[in-house]
């Protein structure tokens, strides 16, 4: 349907001369320190001018989750100047004044959606200038480790008022409405990133617990252990391309539980506490929550999901449905720029309904734009309505999250009043947005790369979200003067996701963090001892807390709207200025600016302004955002030697993310669950199929009671062999359900009992069970294996 992407077409050349243009930004290098609760990063941007007149360069990037800019230093031959934090209007004035006077000037300014423009003006001909930008960022914390993401490129994203087109072969541009996005400049997106700036990184990890594994599903990394809880991760190759995020997984053997803290620059005490979800499970003493589950799956069918992600999303939902009991209820909503629902309301998880759901899922393929809000509004309506009188429940959204104007979506998500859990998929991050979307509604989010298994990720998320371990969580501090927990904790606790709390006090001291919550129908409390000494990681924690507060507040910052909204906007604006000043962090209202006065600066010359292009994320097809076939058609003699947009002939495309049928299929590997890999057969996971075939009573299908029990035992043994028990593993809910089915059976109690015990304690039964089938001889084989083991 679509033509193959011509390789190597993106070579910026000067239209007049046909000679290659030297890149304005040569290199981007990331260094810094990753902690269990966040990261302090320094991004080194190296700019060089190959122009004959002064150069102004704009580099555009997206912030990681819970991030804020702290400061930068601009360095070159004979100078090194630090930035000032100023209100945005003032920063722009200082920058413009500096430029008009002929000075070198730089400004880092944050716009909506966490997008940043780093602008450096008046770089002299032939000159090299470095900007070292410090960024404070959050990480995705899990019970057994963390995932860190840093965007080395920007993903094109959907906005109903954006204009997008392929302006030259393999080069896309997106322009946003100025009334919503101001003078934000987005980069050009190059299908081929090989001619662009190089990227690299060298990061230290320090988590305070022994590290079992440090790995990256996105990049080839070199990992050097540096003692307990410390390691150093760097790019294993000499350089890489700006066409995907850096994703790092740090797994700790034991839970990441603990407290870091100390005093900040302002003398106040700061702490960050990680309370693992297991602490809430212990407190509830495995209180059995048998309330029926109510789940709506919300599937993004926008064009950019085409190919493998869509196929995996489909399988994932089928597998999750396999974990439901007949009394549970579910719904499915698929959205692009329209919404299609499986049924008007939630339905029982009967075999018949699941079969219908399978048919519905089979008919869903990727197309259209990303109207995320329409999708979850429809799903929320489903939860509220229906024959069972409505009630609470969970939405699980499977999406690439490639949308802009996310503040509006967040506003609608809060208003919808349901928990949203996000499973993000993509090699370029919308992690910041999806993390906010989940957190602001009381859910959790996971973001996978396209090289990982989306279906397993979904099953794992599903296992955690169906029934929260705790609700109504509140946190307070005792024993400290002027102590507070900020931001306020999210109300729900889910299996596998720890509660991460930030707080501050008047100064060092000892006391405790008092948590109260509801679990198993009763009120409970949990105390965490807290000792804050002088110094320590206090300043880092202070900055992380500031970045979190700013990110939360910015997610409520709407740029326009009704009068009531304007008042709210004014209020947020003031608070952002105050937060920026208090924490020394930039945000939408506070920008970083520096002016370097040098001898020989010439007043009045205006620089040539260029924008640094980035690589189209490697899993995104040009045609998914930018009209392609038309351009190929138009790419006649006029365009052949032109990559300069002002001269390129261009053709407008429909701004729907089109079908991406010829997307590159990556070798699928769910890298954090290596066990499953052994079973994988060309990207397929047999456990997913097994999970999907579970009947509502927990047994596998069969023509007789005996056949069903045997089939269920065989399936259970395969889950066990892959490391899934009733307590751990992505399929724990499925295993629990199978155990329940077997416990009801009266057949061969001695064998069944042994296998059930194994499922509960996670001990596999040796044997090649995947090759066996139900039959008269199976009982003997099982008995033999049980006796030998």
């Amino acid at each position: 349907m679509s033509e193959p992407q011509p390789a190597g077409v993106f070579q910026p050349v000067a239209a007049e001369t046909g000679k290659p243009i030297e890149l304005a930004m040569q290199r981007l290098y990331l260094v810094g320190r990753i902690l269990g609760v966040g990261a302090r990063l320094l991004v080194k941007h190296t700019f060089r001018s190959g122009e004959k007149k002064p150069l102004e360069v704009i580099y555009s990037f997206g912030l990681p989750r819970d991030a804020a800019l702290r400061r930068f230093r601009i360095t070159g031959q004979g100078f090194s100047v630090s930035s000032d934090l100023r209100p945005v209007e003032k920063a722009v004035e200082v920058y413009e004044q500096g430029l008009a006077e002929g000075h070198l000037a730089a400004m880092a300014r944050t716009y909506r959606d966490g997008l940043v423009n780093l602008t450096v003006g008046n770089i002299r001909p032939g000159e090299e200038v470095t900007v070292n930008l410090e960024i404070i960022a959050g990480v995705e914390t899990r019970d057994d480790g963390l995932r860190f993401r840093f965007p080395f490129t920007l993903a094109p994203a959907y906005h109903s008022k954006a204009r997008a087109a392929e302006v030259a072969p393999g080069v896309g541009e997106i322009e946003l409405p100025a009334d919503e996005f101001g003078d934000l400049v987005l980069p050009q997106f190059a299908a081929d990133a090989t001619a662009l700036h190089e990227v690299g990184f060298d990061l230290s990890v320090s988590v305070g617990h022994p590290i079992v594994e440090t790995a990256s599903p996105s990049h080839a990394v070199r990992v050097v252990g540096q003692g307990i809880g410390r390691s150093r991760v760097s790019l294993a190759t000499a350089k890489d391309l700006p066409d995907r995020d850096l994703v790092l997984d740090v797994r700790t053997g034991e839970s990441l539980a603990g407290v870091v803290g100390g005093t900040g620059r302002d003398g106040r005490g700061y702490f960050a506490a990680v309370v693992p979800s297991a602490a809430f499970r212990n407190a509830t003493q495995e209180a059995v929550n048998e309330e029926p589950r109510r789940v709506v799956f919300v599937i993004d069918r926008s064009g950019s999901m085409g190919g493998a992600p869509m196929e995996q999303a489909r399988k994932a939902v089928e597998a999750c449905l396999g974990a439901l009991a007949e009394s549970d209820r579910f719904g499915i909503v698929a959205f692009d720029d329209g919404v299609e629902s499986f049924d008007k309301c939630l339905v029982e998880a009967s075999m018949e309904n699941r079969e219908r759901a399978r048919e519905f899922l089979g008919g869903i393929d990727a197309r259209g734009g990303t109207e995320l809000a329409a999708g979850f509004r429809a799903a929320a309506a489903m939860l509220r309505g229906g024959a069972d009188g409505g009630g609470g429940g969970d939405l699980i959204i499977v999406t690439d999250g490639q949308v802009m104007g996310t503040e509006r979506i967040l506003e609608q998500a809060r208003a919808a009043g349901v928990r949203l859990h996000c499973l993000g998929i993509g090699s370029a991050s919308q992690d910041r947005f999806l993390a906010l979307l989940a957190r602001e509604t009381g859910g959790i989010s996971r973001f996978l790369t396209t090289r990982e298994r989306v279906d397993l990720g979904a099953v794992e998320l599903f296992a955690a979200v169906g029934r929260p371990l705790a609700s109504g969580l509140e946190a307070g501090m005792e024993g400290f003067q002027d102590g507070r927990v900020a931001p306020e904790p999210q109300g729900f606790v889910f299996d596998g996701s720890p509660v991460v709390l930030f707080g501050d006090t008047a100064g060092p001291g000892e006391g405790r963090l008092a948590l109260s919550f509801e679990a198993g129908g009763s009120k409970r409390t949990l105390d965490v001892p807290l000792a804050i000494g002088p110094g320590g990681d206090g300043e880092t924690v202070r900055l992380l807390q500031g970045a979190r507060l700013i990110t939360d507040l910015e997610s409520r910052y709407l740029p326009y709207g009704e009068a009531a909204e304007k008042r709210e906007t004014e209020r947020i604006k003031k608070r952002l200025v105050a937060l920026g000043e208090a924490y020394g962090l930039a945000n939408r209202e506070m920008a970083l600016v520096a002016v370097v006065e040098r001898p020989g600066d010439r007043r009045g010359d205006i620089p040539k302004t260029t924008v640094v292009p980035v690589g189209l994320p490697q899993d995104v097809e040009m045609g998914a955002y930018f009209s392609r076939s038309q351009v190929m058609h138009a790419a006649g003699p006029v365009i052949a030697s032109m990559a300069m947009p002002s001269d390129a002939r261009m053709v407008r495309g429909r701004f729907t993310k089109g079908r991406a049928s010829e997307r590159v299929l990556y070798d699928m590997a769910y890298l954090t669950a290596a066990n499953e890999l052994e079973d994988s057969d060309a990207g397929r996971n047999p456990l997913i199929d097994l999970a999907a075939s579970l009947e509502p009573d927990g047994g596998l299908p069969g023509s007789s009671e005996e056949e069903r029990v045997q089939a269920t035992i065989l399936a259970l043994l395969r889950f066990l062999a892959a490391g899934h028990s009733t307590k751990i593993g992505a399929f724990r809910v499925h295993v629990k359900k199978m155990v329940k089915f077997l416990e009801k059976s009266k057949l061969r109690p001695e064998i069944v009992r042994d296998i059930v015990e194994r499922a509960k304690s996670g001990r596999a039964l040796p044997g090649e069970w995947e090759k066996k089938a139900p039959g008269p001889d199976l009982w003997d084989e099982l008995e033999k294996a049980v006796r030998q083991a």
């Binding site: 349907m1 679509s2 102004e56 704009i58 722009v92 413009e96 004044q97 430029l99 008009a100 602008t119 204009r163 087109a165 302006v167 541009e173 322009e175 100025a178 101001g182 003078d183 400049v185 720029d337 329209g338 393929d365 197309r367 259209g368 010439r602 007043r603 009045g604 010359d605 205006i606 620089p607 040539k608 302004t609 260029t610 924008v611 009209s627 076939s629 038309q630 058609h633 138009a634 947009p645 002002s646 001269d647 390129a648 002939r649 261009m650 053709v651 407008r652 495309g653 429909r654 079908r659």
Partner: protein, 165 residues
């Protein structure tokens, strides 16, 4: 003497940020300042051009399209033949060809009929729908809804047939 501004004054006058004006100049959308160096200044023509760009953006044109239209406007004589002959009959140029009206007023010889503006929407690889002119927003919404439905039908149809073969 006509009015002159510095870049910052021009920015204040038009509401277009200085950085954006420089960006436009670099992309060839706006002429460089009247004089180089210390005396750099901007005149009414610059202001008019910025307003023109804003107007065209409001109509949904991208900078690359605007640059093209304006470039044609700038040297009408030289580019006239090429544009009219190459692009209009093929109808693969989907932007509103602003230059046309202007060309017409400069071109010698008998007057051509009034041009009509059409937008082409490729709804499938083998189907293009043409819409006349610039419809009103309410009309546009209606037409677009129909277009989307149509596109979905056409696309599904293609796919099913592919599967049967």
């Amino acid at each position: 003497m006509s009015k002159e501004w510095t870049l910052r004054e021009l920015a204040a006058e038009t509401g277009v940020p200085g950085r954006t004006i420089r960006f436009y100049i670099s992309r060839g959308l706006v002429d460089p300042p009247l004089r180089a160096g210390r005396g750099a200044a901007y005149g009414e023509a610059h202001k008019a051009r910025l307003e023109e760009i804003r107007r065209l953006q409001a109509q949904g044109l991208m900078l690359a399209e605007i640059a093209q239209a304006l470039a044609q406007e700038r040297v009408p004589g030289r580019r006239a033949g090429r544009i009219v002959i190459r692009e209009i009959p093929k109808m693969d140029m989907l932007h509103e060809d602003l230059a046309l009206a202007d060309l017409e007023s400069h071109a010698p010889g008998p007057a051509l009929p009034e041009p009509e503006l059409w937008r082409a929407y490729p709804v499938a690889a083998d189907v293009v729908v043409l819409l006349k002119g610039q419809p009103a927003p309410w009309r546009k919404r209606k037409v677009f809804a129909a277009l989307r439905a149509f596109a979905a039908i056409v696309e599904n149809g293609t796919k099913k047939e592919d599967g049967n073969e």
